[in-house]
Symmetry: C2
Subunit: 242 residues, 2 copies
């Protein structure tokens, strides 16, 4: 099989074995790409869906001065540009963070498979809506939280998502991101990201250095970031954390 993380945490369990097999069969062309490699460019036609097998990818937009705003982060098992299937063109760019391994499904193949399988199409739809739910949480993070809360929320989300696909044993995981990148995700400068990380470490909540993150106090981190994993639709109860 392609990867045992294929669509984990993305509604995979809703699929019949037949649906899942057929979808996996349509996956072709495994490919490795280097770090900081642009995968999809805004405005260019998308002809295939890209599955992230290993590594991280991010969506982003640049402002007038060329400064980047990260919009989303993808972890192994995610389709990173499935919205390109109904949209045909994307409104933003997508790139790898560190080196990554990808696999592809042609839109033509998706079309053929899903035409006869409404349930499969609905599940792919669901997967893109999960991205939208995370977008909303990022809006909340940027609109209502201060810098410490934002960084805490960022790592709390990432840890929760990686845990769902078995990649964050004991709350520790590799993350090939600089402090400047983190700033671009949280709407703060790289310099300030550095100061925030120091405080989080001093408070015993989180350690992030040398491309490796470790959640030291998950409860405290989630409280500070006002993070409640319910929006990841992993089965958690629906009440906002406090």
């Amino acid at each position: 099989m392609l990867t045992d993380r294929f669509l984990l945490g993305r509604g995979r369990e809703r699929l019949s074995d037949g649906d899942l097999r057929e979808l996996e069969a349509a996956v072709t062309q495994m490919r490795d790409v280097p770090a900081r490699h642009v995968l999809v460019r805004r405005g260019e036609p998308v002809r295939q869906a890209t599955l992230l097998v290993e590594g991280y990818a991010c969506r982003y937009m640049d402002d007038r001065d060329g400064r980047r705003q990260l919009l989303a982060l993808h972890v192994p098992g995610d389709f990173i540009d499935l919205h390109g299937f109904p949209m045909q063109v994307l409104d933003h760019d997508i790139a790898t963070l560190g080196p990554a391994r990808l696999a592809f499904v042609d839109h033509a193949g998706l079309e053929a498979i899903t035409a006869a399988r409404p349930q499969l199409m609905r599940m792919l739809w669901f997967s893109t809506l999960l991205d939208a739910a995370m977008h909303r949480e990022w809006i909340f993070r940027l609109g209502r939280l201060g810098s410490e809360g934002r960084v805490a929320h960022f790592f709390a989300e990432l840890e929760a998502r990686l845990a769902m696909v078995g990649l964050a044993p004991d709350g520790a995981f590799a993350l090939p991101m600089t402090q400047a990148d983190l700033g671009e995700a949280c709407g703060i400068t790289g310099v300030h990201a550095n100061r925030v990380l120091r405080r989080l470490r001093e408070d015993g909540l989180l350690a992030f250095a040398a491309g490796r993150a470790e959640v030291l106090d998950r409860t405290g981190l989630r409280r500070l970031g006002e993070f409640d994993p319910a929006y990841l639709y992993g089965g958690a109860p629906w009440s906002r954390a406090d």
Copy 2:
């Protein structure tokens, strides 16, 4: 017909006449609701899709202290909770701004119609992805812009969307929102929203008072808000504004 704005600017033109007719036929129960009325509550099962026929609706989340962050605004012609169809439960609340008129389609009806019409399902999917594209733009707005840019971007987007459904003649439109609401959309306080609005008015870009907005200088407003309407997928060319 229900409303001539039904799904305008939402991919309506991609539908065959048959698709559109069948979808409209499934719409039932016109209902009027007052201002500031909660339509969907986070965590509660959604059994129908709600079409906004007249007025405005907003999606929002509250932080720990009960302060609101707006996540999205909806204009007439939009389905406001279509993501509840694949998701079944929403991760946020939805409420009206001013008084509004709604219509509904049962999920059961949607299921029946779309099972045999993959193209229709794809178009509904597309509509929800348009919401995701707007979410991304809101992330950009909050992450990269200062307070003036945020407010400018907010009004630029709203004017563009309303123009797509014929509701912003000469860049003027009704908007039953307080300055505090505006602040909740832009991640600033109501007090600061007031000061920003004054400056925009003094600069001849935008007038917003007494529930009525008027874009005085569309080019200038879009420049200040770094706004490029391409992400609304209305056919504009794909190059970021400057």
